[in-house]
């Protein structure tokens, strides 16, 4: 199947279920449906042999990245979008082969995720599909995910509103393994050029409720030019200093 990818774009329909339910009964396979991209008709459906070598996994990941970069998933649901990282995460989880994610492999996944999230409506206090996906990618791929986000968010390469939402969740989520790097990302984003990113970082740090951020807030307050945002910095600073 990998060999045929160059001939024609295809749709891979890989759902969460495919990755969660198969291991119990058929630990060496997972279900995959491949459909013609243009026609939307199924080409192949069934069990795909489990990949046994790191090289094969890398080929597969590269293929997924090609699909993502080519925007072949533009009409797909968010579930299909998850293909790339779910696949690699599942392989890492259920096999003895360790897949080492790098920021380079995750950036296209995040770019696509952020692009889709532009259509979501974000509200304070509410989870979204985007927030759930973001948390899952970070929990599954750890430091590499935070490093990839560190390359994308502060520079405003992706939609600012989505960045702001991401930062809130980067602070809110519970994942001890990435705690330090997530906090560092939030502290760094306090000095972003984009006010909404600074606000998202502030809300993320507020959710973390970690006095380590105090020094960074002091610095941010000194340099903040938007009065309303400065007031918000000061409020969170007071909260943290009262701890």
């Amino acid at each position: 199947m990998i060999g045929s990818q160059t001939k024609k774009p295809m749709i891979w329909d890989l759902s969460d279920r495919d990755f969660q339910s198969n291991s119990a009964t058929t630990p060496n396979n997972f279900d995959v449906n491949v459909a013609d991209f243009e026609q939307g008709k199924p080409i192949k459906s069934g069990w795909l042999p489990f990949f046994t070598s790191e090289m094969e996994i890398n080929i597969l990941l590269n293929f997924i990245n090609i699909l993502l970069e080519g925007n072949y998933f533009k009409n797909s649901t968010i579930s299909s979008m998850k293909t790339g990282w779910l696949l690699s995460a599942n392989l890492a989880k259920n096999s003895t082969i360790k897949v080492k994610e790098t920021p380079a492999t995750l950036i296209p996944v995040f770019l696509h995720m952020f692009s889709i999230a532009r259509d979501e409506e974000f509200e304070d206090g509410m989870e979204t599909q985007f927030s759930k996906d973001l948390k899952q990618v970070i929990r599954t791929t750890g430091q590499a995910a935070v490093n990839a986000l560190s390359e994308l968010i502060p520079t405003g390469r992706v939609n600012i509103e989505v960045c702001s939402e991401a930062l809130r969740w980067i602070g809110r989520m519970d994942d001890p393994a990435t705690y330090e790097s997530r906090r560092w990302l939030l502290e760094r984003c306090l000095s972003s050029n984009f006010p909404r990113i600074r606000d998202g970082a502030l809300l993320g740090l507020s959710a973390m409720n970690d006095p380590d951020a105090i020094q960074y807030l002091h610095f941010a307050i000194q340099h903040e030019e938007i009065n309303e945002l400065k007031e918000d910095f000061e409020q969170v600073l007071r909260d943290l200093e009262e701890q």
């Binding site: 304070d124 206090g125 984009f194 507020s206 959710a207 409720n209 309303e228 909260d239």
Partner: protein, 174 residues
């Protein structure tokens, strides 16, 4: 008396954000904070001294997945009157776990697209503020502690609910 409407504060900055925005202009994204349903918009009455502001904020925050920061605008009654924007009391549509707050629910109604823009302008010039997440959690716990909340109507997800209940039980012990 002013009416509270929940917003996202960062969309309403008066400074140059985004940079292409001219002074006194409002970015279109801000309109998502005043999305109407059946040409109506929910608001809650707050007294002049803002004595019930926290109560309203807590009641609304307990209808979410989790307690977070609470951003709001206080829309002046006279601004609505001057713009001839219609408003009426409708306690039945108050959906919070606090009956007192529900009784203060109002609908801005029969809103035209033109009025929506006027409303955006009114909000931009109104008092806009934020209660931080840490403070909101304390206030929510206090409301539980004081038994002002109908526990069956809290919509928080279990993890967030547990956190608030733990804070409230700490208050009991203290």
């Amino acid at each position: 008396m002013p009416y509270l409407h929940k917003i996202r504060k960062a969309k309403w900055y008066k400074n140059d954000d985004p940079p292409w925005l001219n002074p006194n202009e409002i970015q279109a994204d801000a309109l998502t904070d005043i999305g109407t349903k059946d040409n109506e918009l929910s608001v809650y009455l707050v007294d002049h001294q803002k004595n019930n502001l926290d109560q309203v904020a807590v009641a609304l925050s307990l209808t979410r997945d989790f307690v977070s920061n609470f951003d709001y605008a206080l829309i002046r009654e006279e601004d609505l009157e001057n713009a001839r924007i219609k408003i009426r009391s409708d306690p039945k549509k108050g959906y919070t776990p606090d009956e007192t707050v529900n009784s203060q629910h109002f609908d801005i109604y029969e809103i035209t697209a033109q009025e929506l823009l006027t409303l955006a302008s009114i909000i931009r010039n109104s008092e806009i503020a934020r209660i931080t997440e840490i403070k909101m959690k304390e206030k929510a716990a206090k409301a539980l502690f004081e038994k002002r909340i109908d526990l069956t109507k809290i919509r928080l997800k279990s993890e967030s609910r547990k956190e608030i209940e733990q804070l409230a039980s700490k208050m009991v012990n203290e």
